[in-house]
């Protein structure tokens, strides 16, 4: 019985890890489809290499910073023990959490697409996943530095972020904003003859959105980390928020395929935080607002702020993440049909902290890299396209 429970726990969290690993393919294709044809290969290679660097960074450093266990260095034989104890559960838990950590560079990637150098970006990935992300992750999910205690004593409840509206998406989105600002807009995007480019392939973009959407159920549900903690509520709230996001994007975005396929993602980003406490009807509203928020904020970012965020990762992960964390404080309350145990004040506090740390951390990392090795392709390389300039091959061949 105990063995069975342990084994099923391993299976449970492994399924989560597999689903979130698959999401990385989703990130890749969302970017492939959105960028111009001459940058498709770069999108693909970047995501895959980033994933590898993230794993190493988190294995040796990041996981230790967040949870105190520096697995890769096998301190106190932690790695050796984890290999055989409890069917290797602790190893798979690392795997699962690593797939979250690796989402950070995958999110950033979509914002800085089409103009960033390759190896400097890998370097940034290393620092983000080794230091910036786990610093905040540990505060919120591992009680580090007494931050949660402080929030709880102030507001009566800790900062509630079940599956990472802020810890993952918010942090990713706000790091991306810092990176985008330091990198600058693509040549020709703004200015007197400035213009936007239509996506190279809507089917690939849609494929990416679908993979992300499906994998997200692992992201959210398996955040329970143990099978006996599984909550059908989390699954259905994710569904409802996803549906809300699609509906808002369909109607507010006037059937625009770019909006419609980001709709579910907006809803899912927003539901992460409160998926274990809000009511499915609340989740539907959270998703509707998130979908609408994305449509509005994307246009606002592009046209008013003139921030050249190629995939719209700041509105998507950064802003919908913030909305999600706040919404957990609202719809999680019993008054609104939630399961309670959340405080709006705590949500505000945790969110501000996360956003600030992410933006500052991201800014520092990218500023250092910018001023040392540089992060931007030359004008000629950008014009030629990252595929030829960096990878020396085009995405497809004429037939």
């Amino acid at each position: 019985m105990e063995q069975l429970t342990t084994s099923v726990d391993v299976l449970f969290i492994l399924l989560g890890a597999i689903l979130v690993l698959f999401m990385h393919a989703g990130f890749a294709f969302l970017e492939v489809g959105t960028v111009r044809h001459k940058n498709q290969v770069n999108a693909l290679v970047k995501i895959l290499s980033d994933l590898a660097v993230s794993t190493v960074a988190y294995f040796f450093i990041g996981y230790g910073i967040a949870y105190g266990v520096f697995l890769g260095f096998n301190l106190d034989g932690a790695l050796t023990t984890a290999m055989s104890e409890r069917s290797g559960y602790d190893l798979v838990k690392f795997f699962f959490l690593m797939t979250f950590a690796a989402a950070i560079p995958a999110i950033v990637s979509g914002g800085i697409a089409e103009r960033a150098k390759f190896y400097p970006q890998l370097l940034a990935t290393f620092f983000l996943v080794a230091l910036v992300y786990p610093f905040y992750e540990g505060m919120i999910w591992n009680g580090n530095f007494g931050v949660q205690d402080a929030i709880e004593s102030m507001f009566g409840a800790p900062f509630h972020d079940f599956a990472g509206s802020i810890v993952v998406h918010g942090v990713g989105g706000w790091i991306a904003l810092a990176a985008i600002l330091l990198l600058g807009a693509r040549e020709g995007r703004y200015g007197p003859r400035g213009h936007q480019w239509a996506p190279s392939s809507i089917p690939f973009l849609a494929l990416g959105a679908w993979i992300l959407t499906v994998g997200w159920f692992g992201f959210n549900v398996m955040s329970a980390q143990q099978v006996e903690g599984i909550q059908g509520l989390v699954a259905v709230n994710s569904l409802m928020a996803m549906v809300g996001g699609i509906l808002a994007a369909t109607f507010m975005g006037d059937k625009d395929p770019g909006f419609v396929h980001n709709g579910p993602l907006a809803g899912l980003v927003a539901i992460c935080a409160g998926s274990d406490v809000v009511n499915p009807l609340g989740a539907l509203v959270i998703g509707l607002v998130a979908g609408g928020l994305f449509v509005w904020a994307f246009k606002w970012t592009q046209n008013k702020l003139k921030v050249d965020d190629v995939l719209g990762v700041w509105p998507l992960h950064g802003l919908c993440g913030v909305w999600g964390a706040l919404a957990a404080g609202i719809f999680g309350s019993t008054a609104l049909g939630g399961l309670g145990g959340v405080s709006f004040g705590a949500q505000v506090a945790g969110t501000i902290l996360g956003v600030a740390l992410a933006f500052i951390g991201g800014y520092v990392v990218y500023a250092l890299i910018k001023s040392s090795v540089g992060i931007r392709l030359t004008k000629e390389e950008e014009y030629e396209g990252a595929d030829l300039a960096i990878h020396r091959i085009r995405s497809t061949q004429e037939h």
Partner: protein, 112 residues
């Protein structure tokens, strides 16, 4: 020997070929081109940004014909390609000084 170059609406290609076929003109070379003229393109929209697609897809037909059939061929093309709507296209006739069939080396009218 004359070269007839006709710019037409894409969906009229089959009609034009049929019309030329009827007067025994079967050889021709066709390519996809973008036309600019009085007929205007359209506007696309993606995530709130407008994209003006200011050209129209057109088909360019090149047919080499001997002097005698020229008028007949022009007539055939005109009839078959016309819709009466703006953007029906143009026909240009240019002189050919030499014509060769690569396979046989035949030249002039025999080369067609």
């Amino acid at each position: 020997m004359k070269m007839i170059t006709a710019i037409i609406k894409p969906f009229k290609l089959d009609d034009v070929r049929d019309a030329l076929h009827e007067i025994n003109v079967d050889g021709m070379t066709v390519s996809e081109v973008k036309g600019f003229g009085r007929q205007k393109g359209h506007t696309e929209m993606y995530r709130g940004a407008e994209y003006v697609v200011d050209f129209l897809p057109k088909i360019k037909i090149e047919v080499a014909v001997s002097g005698e059939v020229l008028d007949q061929a022009l007539e055939a093309i005109m009839k078959a390609a016309a819709t009466g709507q703006i953007g029906d296209g143009k026909i240009f006739v240019t002189p050919i000084e030499q014509t060769i069939r690569i396979r046989t080396g035949e030249s002039g009218r025999d080369a067609l």
